[in-house]
């Protein structure tokens, strides 16, 4: 199986590659459109800030290619947020796969949310073998609202989408590559889709 991790800038995406390696899969880091389109599974990670990330995607034509992919795609953290319609971070227009907006957490809670929080209302084969209320590791200041594509929710200041799915597109706000054995199981499930 060929797994490609989209490499469109600086940031810590090595961890994702290492997580797949622990599952016995050599995932490739690539920004080549052909290689990404030809993969069996595509990981769309998040790096830094939304506006500059979208610019980097635009420069390489990835903004056009990603929404057209037909194999299973997993957006992680900012990757998931960029698959949404728009985000308040830098007033950025997203790729529009998920019909939902991304907003900043209100200041009644500490921002960023940093640490382990539970996932609930699980509704996808991505969570096969994962129970309600298991903990995942999250680090983020912006969140996707609830919508019809929501397949998991988390509570921080309010209940929001910690995972989304539409057709072959999956998105998770948490970092499965840093979420201990539960996260590993989720990545394994993704490989088996």
């Amino acid at each position: 199986m060929k797994v490609v991790i989209i490499d469109y800038g600086a940031g810590n995406i090595k961890s994702i590659q290492f997580a797949f390696k622990r599952l016995g899969v050599d995932a490739v880091l690539s920004n080549k459109l052909k290689e990404i389109m030809g993969a069996d599974k595509v990981i769309f990670p998040g790096v830094g800030e939304a506006n500059s990330a979208m610019k980097m995607l635009g420069e390489s034509g990835l903004d056009i290619i990603i929404p057209q992919l037909t194999q299973p795609v997993l957006g992680i953290c900012l990757g998931m947020q960029l698959l949404c319609n728009d985000t308040e971070e830098g007033n950025t227009k997203g790729l529009g796969v998920f019909n939902v907006s991304v907003k900043r957490f209100p200041n009644q809670v500490k921002v960023p949310q940093m640490g382990w929080n539970t996932i609930n209302n699980l509704k996808s084969e991505l969570f096969h073998g994962i129970s309600e209320n298991e903990y995942m590791y999250l680090v983020h200041s912006y969140y996707a609202e609830n919508c019809k594509d929501t397949i998991a929710t988390t509570n921080y200041s309010q209940i929001y989408s910690s995972a989304l799915q539409k057709n072959n597109f999956y998105g998770v706000q948490f970092h499965p590559e840093k979420s201990s054995y539960t996260g590993e199981l989720l990545l394994k499930n993704f490989l088996e889709l």
Partner: protein, 251 residues
């Protein structure tokens, strides 16, 4: 609900853990990778590696170590010690570190925080602050607490938040090493006056100290070294007791 974090800290010199580590069933007590694995398998929520190498060779060894840790550990980890430039941070993140912690270099040149946060995102920039009370005022210290500054703890903490720190790791030098508990009054004030997570460090001696720092000190996480390294407190046992006290933890 967001869980409170338990964070063991490992001091690294030239690629090896220093300050005693006394685990049963550990083949090599100096091997940080083996220690990190044990901690991550036994309930640690995060790890901190503090590089205290003084030489360039030691620093290079640290990068290699970070890479090896990232390959094997499935929980987040922070690297601190001697970080003073964008290049330092870039190299660490490329090897798989999740966060970096800056201290003295941020005091010497506060713009570093803005630059790092802008380039890498505030979520990966931890500012460590060491402070102690001098004539009733909390004063920030640098260079591992050896040099005192005129900076007031609370003013400096607010400044680093405003400059883009994603988290503060606060060590009370008055409490560090005493095993008499964390500096909960100060922690509570930091936690209430700031809107970023605060990690408590310095003073852990028993399980009640952790309960207190979460309940009284309002800390978001608690960091400790020797009580974990010497097996005085077992992380899973600690977390069970925290849960019995209605403190949210990942078990």
């Amino acid at each position: 609900m967001l869980a409170k974090r338990i964070i063991p800290c490992l001091d690294i010199k030239n690629g090896r853990t220093v300050k005693g580590v006394n685990f049963i069933d550990l083949r090599d007590a100096g091997d940080p990778i083996e220690l990190a694995k044990i901690y991550s398998e036994n309930g640690a929520d995060e790890l901190v590696f503090l590089d205290i190498s003084a030489t360039l060779e030691g620093r290079k060894t640290m990068l290699d170590l970070v890479l090896k840790v990232a390959k094997q550990i499935n929980i987040p980890f922070t690297v601190g010690g001697g970080i003073s430039s964008l290049e330092d941070v870039e190299a660490l993140l490329k090897c798989g570190a999740d966060k970096v912690s800056v201290n003295s270099s941020a005091i010497k040149r506060p713009d570093l925080i803005n630059e790092l946060s802008k380039k890498f995102g505030n979520q990966c920039i931890v500012v460590a602050i060491d402070a102690k009370q001098i004539h009733g005022q909390w004063k920030v210290h640098l260079a591992g607490g050896t040099i005192s500054t005129d900076l007031d703890l609370f003013e400096w903490a607010k400044e680093v938040e405003q400059r883009g720190a994603g988290e503060i790791l606060f060590t009370s030098m008055d409490h560090d090493g005493t095993k008499n508990g964390f500096a909960n009054l100060v922690l509570k004030k930091l936690s209430e006056e700031l809107n970023i997570p605060i990690i408590a460090s310095g003073g852990a001696g028993n399980i009640q100290h952790f309960i207190d720092t979460f309940q009284l000190g309002k800390a978001d996480g608690a960091l400790a070294a020797s009580v974990f390294h010497f097996g005085e407190i077992e992380i899973l046992d600690l977390k069970r007791k925290l849960k019995n006290n209605n403190i949210e933890v990942r078990l």
